[in-house]
């Protein structure tokens, strides 16, 4: 018995097979090399900025002072965007998975996917020309009645191009990502769990709360984190919508706003020369490390859940 298996293992390898397998393997390794190359080249070109000061860093004393307000703005905009997008996205995913008949849910899902297809620069146009002016009265109202909160201290922006507007645009852009992943996980909920809940007399909401959410919890967390990764790195919409002045503030509706790393690069790179380029690349490296860590964690959660389920 064992001899037949051994001879099959030693079947002669054809040259075509070796070449083809080599190409396939090479393509896989090329991707790893590209990813390593991103980190390597950004470090190479960003390194000189660590010793810089003054004009190249917009007057900041050292690189940390330069990058800290940008990191703050990036995190603030992304977290605000998630606060808006996550409940909406989970609601939309629930509608598609449980509240519409199967015939319609495909079309409905496609409409949400179209949101993801719109280029970011068009969102930027829409944010400046439509959303900002529409939100202006809301900001005035917030300043008037909720001005005692530090978030709405004002004075309200006259253009509507505030960090809150930028976050709303970001929220619209990450919503399809969170929706798509949550929907996928909701529809994987074991049919028996749902039917058992219904058989005990649960209403539809109780069924979702008792059988769907416990099953989908880790998936929802990682969907949110993937959305966070997208919101952190989104460039053009923020660069166009936000009128940034690089301050650190929690005031969400005024005309002086913190900038984000990505928007700062997009706004300054075309005209930058010398050390300024290195400083921008170094800030890009910071952004890369942050998003890489967020995505890494999100994917690790997904992978762990999949291993537990299989």
């Amino acid at each position: 018995m064992s001899t037949t298996i051994a001879t099959r293992d030693k079947a002669p390898r054809r040259r075509g097979d070796v070449i083809f397998a080599g190409i396939a393997r090479g393509a896989g390794i090329a991707i790893l090399v590209a990813l390593a190359g991103v980190a390597l080249f950004l470090t190479l070109e960003g390194f000189p900025a660590l010793g810089a000061s003054g004009a190249a860093l917009d007057g900041a004393a050292n690189f940390l002072d330069y990058v800290w307000p940008l990191v703050f703005g990036t995190l603030l905009a992304a977290i605000l965007a998630l606060l808006i997008a996550t409940p909406l996205a989970i609601g939309v995913a629930l509608v598609i998975a449980f509240y519409t008949p199967r015939r319609i849910s495909g079309v409905v899902g496609y409409m949400i996917d179209l949101l993801a297809a719109v280029p970011s620069v068009v969102y930027g146009l829409w944010g400046i020309a439509f959303l900002g002016p529409q939100l202006k009265p809301l900001y005035q109202w917030l300043e008037e009645y909720l001005g005692f909160l530090p978030f709405f201290a004002g004075p309200a922006s006259s253009t509507g191009r505030t960090i809150l507007t930028a976050s709303i645009v970001l929220a619209i852009m990450v919503l399809p990502i969170i929706t798509a992943i949550s929907r996928e996980i909701f529809t994987q909920t074991p049919q028996l769990h749902m039917e058992a809940a219904m058989a005990l007399g649960a209403t539809r909401w109780e069924m979702i709360k008792l059988s769907v959410f416990p099953y989908a919890r880790s998936g929802m967390v990682s969907a949110t984190m993937l959305g966070l990764g997208r919101a952190l790195g989104e460039t053009m919409a923020v660069a166009m919508v936000l009128s940034a002045s690089g301050v650190v503030t929690f005031n969400l509706i005024s005309s002086t706003n913190p900038s984000t790393i990505a928007a700062n690069i997009a706004l300054n790179f075309p005209e930058a020369t010398g050390l300024k380029v290195n400083a921008l690349i170094a800030s890009g490296l910071v952004l890369f490390v942050i998003t890489f860590a967020v995505n890494f964690a999100a994917r690790a959660i997904v992978a762990r859940t999949e291993r537990e389920r299989s």
């Binding site: 054809r14 075509g16 097979d17 083809f20 396939a24 393997r25 393509a27 896989g28 390794i29 090329a30 991707i31 790893l32 590209a34 190359g37 991103v38 080249f41 950004l42 190479l44 070109e45 909406l88 609601g91 939309v92 629930l94 509608v95 409409m111 179209l114 949101l115 297809a117 719109v118 280029p119 970011s120 620069v121 068009v122 930027g124 146009l125 829409w126 400046i128 439509f130 529409q134 209403t203 539809r204 109780e206 997208r230 952190l232 790195g233 460039t235 053009m236 166009m240 990505a262 690069i265 997009a266 020369t273 010398g274 690349i281 890009g284 952004l287 890369f288 998003t291 995505n295 992978a303």
Partner: protein
Amino acid sequence: MATITPTPPTPTRSSMHLKTPSLPRWAPLLVIAIAVAASAMLGLLLGWGPVGIAVVAVVLYLVGVPLWSRLVEDGRRAKDRMMTGLVWTAFVLALIPLVTLIWKVVAEGLPQINAEFLTYSMRNVIGDQQGGIYHAIMGTLLVTAWAAIISIPVGIFCGIYLVEYGKTSRLARWITFLVDVMTGIPSIVAGLFAYALFVLFFGEGVRMGFGGSVALSLLMIPIVVRSTEEMLKLVPDELREASYALGVPKWRTVSKVVLPTAMSGIITGVTLAVARIIGETAPLLIIAGKTDGLNMNMFSEPVTTLPVFIYFSYTQPGLPPEAGQARAWGAALVLIVIVMALNLGARAIGKFFAPKKGR
């Protein structure tokens, strides 16, 4: 022991609840009608805008239905009805941006579209003379084509490696994981990477179309790998085994049996990937740059692409600003049409070439 036990009262028809009381099917519709009417009346009297009226109508509905349900049914169903209302509200809220965005782009962009707009470049166009976006359209097509030329072979071969060769090896698991992580790389970081790479060869301030293609392919490869992988996994093992049984070598099996079977899905995935990167702005802003004229040479000098044209035309419109901003809207409409056409095309390909059942 034989005491007389009082006979239990015979249940009357009214006390025998076989069915708990519930709201009629049309109840939510009625509440919607009442909420809209009431809020519209109040709004017209007090002078709110349409947005104010809509917000009040939604709030009235979200309060009204659970209240009625609580009176007639019970607390649990009231909660269920409220959550149904909330979930649908979230859905409508999510669709508002899509509708207003498409309406705005069409309304502002359509008047700009004419033959000259599509066939002229911006070279020597001053003020509000008729300019065009021909150079940007060609730039976008060429940069995207080069990105596709790089990404499609690498992506498909990587997918083949993961499904046909690597399977559960340590290398394959790492590649799968890192490809997933790679889908999250910010596009501007991809642009900076291309710049940092090309600056080593061409010196400071390098701008060229091919650099943009390299940056875009960094964003496109993971999408192609993922869709190829998914599609190859769907190919039944019986097909592979039948081919091996005929003595066909593995590489011929993969290229003549497995790939053709999965081809429609792979083409769909590639088209969606192209649709995703054709609208990218940030990396092209960094490395491809901007110019007013047509540049078909991808290996030297800046190339304007549609998204970058939109960005500069709107934020630095020149004088008078209306002319430049109008061109930005026109270009945005063209870009959206291209992206939507690619999306619909991808779905059509998937449907059209899908392996027919019962063949």
